[in-house]
């Protein structure tokens, strides 16, 4: 099959293309570093290609893969008009080891503005410098941190775990004493801000309306916002580094703890990516169950957004927060019934579902639906859709045009709220979404109110999907693949079959080993497009685990949306982006 993108690239830039690789339906084009900007512009502007959405930028330390040069930058591109994807792989020559000098490559912020934070992150964690970047500073780690944690020669860190503890042992004398991790860091922001005529205020990291430990430095001219500089990393937990030190299946529980409002979706995104790498087939019924749970999760996530947003915008709508959490509790009860956990579910495993669905599952879901739809949603809408306070705080606040949104890499309900009907469940259906009818709601308003309308309608559409899945779901039947190289054999088999026992032993002690290669899986999370990039070197541990988290990228639009607005609008804007700090900072 010829690929128009690679053909065009080869004819236009014969010297720049170093190689083309295809693996599991994904194409990687290796480019020369010095022609990156040229090719990037071409890819974006050529009418046949139109790669207008830059999904991700990340660095690779290929030291252990035996490749030279050691570092490479990778770019995941998506063309919304043509519904196509491509990956650019750009090896960077130059300084290869520590001592200050960093490998250097051109910044693509001029082509895709969304690269700004993604490149800062790569600089911070991988130590790749981007020439021409507007403000290249650390974004996750404290400014005075030494080293780049995602490099392969940087240790995972941590402390030895003491499984027995003797408090009289002098070795532990320091525990419980007040030791600080490092020097205290005062405001390092506002370097570019005008402190002369303007007022600079600090919001967060402990602030009731920033939805976690987000910190914003806001430059104000009177009551008007001149500039916002978010400071991230207060919840940075090193997920990518952990992923590169755990076996594939061991990372599933960690996914729950990233976007902790949507653990089911995160699990699905991750296991689907690994399944593609392994070529595992998932039984139909398990796919359906996955869709159902993920759609319930979407509703639950939107409910938290709705409740907290209403609470931030107008404290008087406190009741709405209570109502929203009550409905969410009912969904959490279903999750608990399915897997025993309310929030950190880890219910999907590579190859299917960890356990079969319980017998009363379908009734429980039906019971929830009868109450929630349409009465539950209508009640929310009745409370606020035409509420004058709600309208005056949301309408015309935080405007984002579709062009701005795409340039900033914004996805999910925010992009649809700017009028673009782009939903991965329709554009590139996964897990069997193409068998179900649903609409992609959009709003042309582009403001916070438009995003509100979109999310409310999305909940309705999720209910529609859940109802259809319920009709197709049949109890019984396999809930995971029978591929014994990937999933554990059932208990009965172990006591009768030697082969099953060997598989069990192998899986538990070593884990499965996918073939060498690289995949990048995408999924439409409640907050936007979630991506998992997995590079396998043939062992049971991923060589590189990259994650694209939607709130991180969407949050970048705050500055654009808030400029010129009032200080109090920032609260509305942050709420309408629907961020979760666990995935912003990871």
């Amino acid at each position: 099959m010829t690929n128009i993108t690679t053909e065009k690239l080869k004819t236009r830039f014969p010297d720049a293309v170093l190689g083309v690789e295809s693996f599991k339906g994904e194409t990687t084009v290796t480019l020369k570093a010095d022609s990156l900007l040229e090719t990037a512009r071409f890819l974006r502007d050529d009418p046949d290609l139109q790669y207008n959405l830059l999904l991700d930028v990340y660095g690779m330390d290929r030291h252990r893969l035996g490749l030279s040069p050691r570092f490479a930058a990778q770019y995941e591109l998506f063309s919304i008009p043509k519904n196509r994807r491509i990956r650019l792989n750009v090896p960077i020559a130059g300084p290869q080891a520590g001592n200050g000098a960093l490998p250097k490559i051109d910044s693509v912020t001029g082509v895709w503005p969304t690269a700004n934070w993604l490149e800062r992150e790569t600089y911070d964690l991988m130590g790749i410098e981007f020439a021409g970047h507007p403000w290249l500073h650390r974004i996750m780690m404290p400014r005075n941190w030494v080293g780049h944690p995602l490099r392969k020669d940087y240790p995972l860190g941590g402390e030895p775990v003491n499984f027995s503890f003797d408090k009289d042992n002098p070795r532990f004398a320091h525990l419980g004493k007040q030791i600080m991790a490092g020097p205290s860091f005062h405001s390092e922001l506002a370097e570019e801000m005008d402190e002369e005529g303007h007022l600079i205020i600090n919001m967060g990291p402990q602030h009731p309306a920033t939805h976690g430990v987000l910190r914003l430095a806001v430059e104000l001219d009177g009551e008007r916002v001149v500039k916002i500089q978010p400071e991230l990393g207060y919840l940075h937990s090193g997920f990518e580094k952990i992923g590169e030190n755990r076996r594939y299946e061991q990372f599933i529980p960690y996914c729950d703890r990233l976007d902790y409002l949507a653990p089911m979706s995160n699990n699905l995104g991750y296991v689907m990516t690994v399944e593609r790498l392994l070529d595992v087939d998932v039984p139909q019924q398990a796919q359906y169950a996955r869709i159902l749970l993920v759609e319930l999760q979407r509703i639950a996530s939107h409910l938290v957004w709705l409740g907290t947003h209403a609470m931030d915008v107008s404290g008087t709508i406190h009741a709405l927060l209570m109502y929203a959490f009550n409905w969410r509790e009912k969904i959490l009860d279903i999750f608990e019934m399915v897997c025993g956990a309310r929030m950190t579910t880890s219910y999907f495993c590579v190859g299917g579902l960890r356990w079969p669905l319980p017998g009363a599952f379908q009734d429980a879901v039906r019971h929830f639906l009868t109450g929630f739809y349409p009465d539950g949603i209508n009640e929310f809408e009745g409370m606020i859709t035409n509420n004058p306070i709600w309208k005056s705080r949301l309408q015309e606040v935080g405007y984002l045009s579709a062009e701005q949104a795409i340039a900033l890499g914004v996805t999910g309900p925010m992009l649809r709220g700017s009028g673009l009907a782009f939903d991965l469940r329709k554009a590139q259906p996964y897990s069997g979404y193409d068998r179900f009818d649903f609409d992609v709601p959009t709003s042309d308003r582009g403001d916070s109110y438009g995003r509100y309308l979109v999310r409310m309608e999305e909940m309705r559409q999720s209910v529609r999907i859940v109802e259809q899945v319920l009709n197709k779901l049949k109890p019984g039947g396999p809930h995971k693949t029978s591929d014994r190289k990937v999933v554990l054999p059932p208990r009965e088999e172990i006591s009768t079959s030697m082969e099953a026992l060997i598989h069990h032993f192998k899986l538990v002690t070593e884990g499965f080993k996918p073939p060498k290669g690289q995949v990048y899986g995408l999924i439409e999370n409640p907050k936007g497009i979630l991506g998992f990039g997995v590079v396998s070197d043939g062992s049971a541990v991923p060589h590189r685990l990259r994650m694209r988290w939607p709130s991180f990228v969407n949050l970048q639009a705050t500055d654009t949306m808030a400029r010129g607005g009032l200080l109090s609008d920032i609260v509305t804007i942050i709420g309408s982006i629907d961020i979760v700090l666990g995935e912003v900072d990871r």
């Binding site: 402390e159 004493k177 600080m180 991790a181 402990q206 207060y234 937990s237 960690y254 950190t344 900072d585």
Partner: protein, 174 residues
């Protein structure tokens, strides 16, 4: 204007006292009385870190209702709070901030480490996360779980209330 009692409005007479004499005093000591007052009016800081914070919010919602334990008034300023619930993982970057928040709270003040991360680092034994918030501030009650259910938080709260009751007057924590 006074209303004439009619047949439709029965006259209410107070119930007779079992014993004579107004119930006017109760025997206790000041420190117990203050402890009793303190333990049922804890003001937690409105502050959440990670996944556990969501369960902390849920604890405040109507299904679980932290108000039953007198601790529903979450204050947004550390100067008005006497309890900080560390609900999530503490990163190297966040540690100085948490320490400062704790210092800003007036005495007496208490700390609950909610969840495995805050108690001991949990699943994150790596370069970014501090292995337990007790490395930077003193912790009164640890809650295991990842995340602990709201009921677990309530159990911790009642344990803390026992501690607060016994705390005494004029004791310095610092």
């Amino acid at each position: 204007m006074e209303l004439e009692p009619t047949a439709a409005m029965p006259k209410i007479t107070p119930a007779p006292h079992e014993k004579d004499g107004a119930p006017g005093f109760v025997m206790t000591n000041l420190s117990e009385l203050v402890g009793w007052g303190r333990k049922y009016s804890l003001h937690p800081l409105l502050f959440g870190l990670a996944c556990c914070a969501i369960e902390q919010i849920t604890a405040g919602m109507s299904r679980f209702d932290i108000a039953r334990f007198g601790a529903e008034v979450f204050r947004a300023s550390p100067r008005q709070a006497d309890l900080i619930i560390i609900s999530g993982r503490v990163s190297n970057k966040m540690a100085p901030v948490i320490k400062r928040l704790h210092e800003q709270m007036l005495e007496p003040k208490w700390v609950i480490a909610m969840g495995d991360c805050a108690s001991c680092g949990g699943p994150f034994n790596n370069y970014a996360i501090i292995q337990g918030v007790d490395k930077i501030i003193p912790v009164d009650v640890y809650v295991p779980g990842c995340p602990p259910r709201p009921e677990a938080l309530f159990y911790a709260l009642t344990r803390l209330q026992d501690k607060v009751q016994k705390f005494g007057l004029g004791v310095r924590q610092g």
